[in-house]
Amino acid sequence: MRKLLICAAAAVATLVVPLSLHAPSAQSATIARVIVKYRADSTLLRKQALSVTGQQTLQASALGNRIGIALDAGRAISDRSHVVIGRGMTSQQLAARLAAQSDIEYAVPDERKRIVEVPNDPFYASGPAVGPTSGGPVVGQWYLKPPAAASTAAHTAPAAINAEQAWDITKGSASIVVAVLDTGLRFDHPDLQGGNVLPGYDMISADGPGDFTSANDGNGRDADASDPGDFVTAADSTALGCSESNSSWHGTQTLGLIGATTNNGVGMASAAHGGVKVMPVRVLGKCGGFDSDIAAGLLWAAGIDVPGVPHNANPARVINMSLGGSGTCTQTYIDAIGQANQAGAVVVISAGNSGGNGVSNPANCPGAIGVTALRHVGDKVGYSDLGPEITISAPGGNCVNTAAGDPCLYPILTLTNKGTTAPVAGAAGAAYTDSFDASLGTSFSAPLVSGTVALMLSVQPTLTPAQVKSKLQATARPFPSTGGTAGIPMCTTSSTSQDECYCPNPGVGITTLCGAGMLDARAAVASAAGVQAAISLTTTTPTANQAVVLTSTSVAAAGRTIASYQWTILNAGTTGATITGANDGSAVTVAPTAAGSFVIQLVVTDDLGTSSTTTLSVAVVSGVVTPPASTPTGGGGGGGGGGGAIDAGWLALLLAAVAALAATAPRERTRRIALSAAWRRDRSRVRSDRA
């Protein structure tokens, strides 16, 4: 009997599956491999007195029965996750079918992976040879690598952001522009010759009539965003009120981290792999820059016009600001960041370097993505500021050993220029920071986030700034609570400055101080690459007793397609709303019978098995009810009489239902046959395994 049932099921499945999948017969020999993870509350996880392999064989079988496909269990991954193997379809198709099951947390193709492509830029692996006064770091661009690869025999580096594996998903889109509000740029650096650098703008205005001390280029705002140097002489120090210093080439350093040409065999790699456009906006000169110029640069970068300045034809989707000052957020920045966000720009700002005090302005402003700096081991580095306004943390560079003359072990290697005052022109002036001229600061944490955001937008340009922030936070890795210098405390909400400390992870009753966790570029970009569910209400005014049509306006990531739709009424409320016809198409018809509101959910799954869910609350107004003369109207209320003619809305509803039924009936009938046979097969297999 058992054999008979299995044969029947197999016969039906053979007939049904190719039809339901519209799969060409050539695919019948295709083997699909999918990794499934069951939800924690899945009934398929009920413990049996079996080995893990035995349990997962049962689970695969039961799962297969639910979708009418024979599935075998493959390799176990965890107690809730294993590989399932099916035949006659692609892994993508099987993953899409499985992902739509309520018991499944996720289902993704079990694909072969090649060795991850590591860029051939020499300093990615290791900085220049370490000498007495120059070279290093030995760990190269450790901060871009996977944490395991960034670790050495002596040190682990869990804070490394894993941009390397994010590049497997995308190497950046030239349609995404990252603006870098900083000191300008040395355009002639050999590692910026990949054709991805836009001219930008110099937004530094005069200090006073005819006084261009801060700007140091002899003029005010103009189209030349090159960096003439921000060195401060004794006279400048007196005039502007800051300390004497050499030129920093800070804008070249921060922009290089985002957009240096990558895999060109020269120098360094960058977080966005040189694939996105980068645009310098010069707002900092000698002794920094004024709020008015910075806010103007912010608006202009986002494509918002600034009086007296030509329109920016290349609006930025990401704006990096490795700058700040003390104090609470001012209205100038609240307005400017808000407008930039409204224009679609993600604004990433460094937390500040005042030694563990409150977050600097404007990183503490609403709408900003504030970034705290981490040591290589993932605890907060001493110089970095922190507070509840922070979104996420990323490496900022740290030295580990501090004896005089020792090389800094974990600095952030990036582009610079050899000039101490004016720039040294051309290749002769090009240089990289290293273990002795070390780049350290939250200035270098923010560009790593900006580069990651640029990759996220490259695969999913429809993401809003709020969605980007949410995905960055959701995909961040937890902060460690070990590995730091012996005896360091947890960071607290104390108003006093805090040196190195362990960042608190999010949790109930916990105030986060370094954001949601450590930046994980690979996870953030993978999250962005997924499908985005969206619902559009097609019916203008949903009315009781009339068909309400809702349409999916979901968007798949570049190169992906939407494989399935699943509509569900989550809460009918007082409307009595039900779905009429198919609930697995790109549109759905709902029949409310009374006024009120209902909530509908749409789950879409792309061809890689990634799902996205959204809900929509739909308000339904009362219709003009014209009951038949014989129908009692009940107590109270007016309500005129009427003829017995059928209401136009009901007629439309009826026609829609009939059409939907006609379209789905054969498929539904076939599915029921398959399920029935599969159910019998499932029961017989269970009996067999238990025996």
Partner: protein, 119 residues
């Protein structure tokens, strides 16, 4: 009225306005530049946006009671101004007067400088 007459009238009016503006600016400055000991930059957000730098400066001088020079535009609503005062107290009073003019200024705040964040 002929076109040329109209044009002359407009030009004359504009020149007159400019003269009035210059005079107003001069009149509103309580003391000469040599006597100014303090310069304080502020950001103002106009209730009604404008891109007329001269008019914005003149009006700010009138309201603040000190000489005000226009510094930079951030947007049509936000502008940077430099207050020239004899003392810190005079600048404080000037800012208070600007803030009190809520029909002209939605926000008045002291402008700061920001620096690169290297350790």
């Amino acid at each position: 009225m002929s076109v040329s007459t109209a044009t002359r009238s407009v030009v004359a009016a504009a020149a007159g306005c400019a003269l009035v503006a210059v005079l107003a600016s001069a009149c509103s400055a309580p003391r000469d530049v040599a006597g100014e000991a303090q310069q304080l930059r502020v950001m103002v957000k106009l209730v009604r946006g404008s891109e007329d730098a001269m008019a914005i400066g003149v009006e700010a001088s009138r309201i603040a009671g000190v000489r005000v020079s226009y510094a930079a535009a951030t947007s049509a609503h936000w502008h940077a101004l430099a207050l020239h005062c004899a003392s810190a107290a005079e600048c404080d009073a000037a800012i208070a007067r600007l803030r009190a003019a809520s029909n002209v200024y939605q926000t008045v705040e002291i402008e700061g400088r920001k620096a690169r964040l290297v350790s």
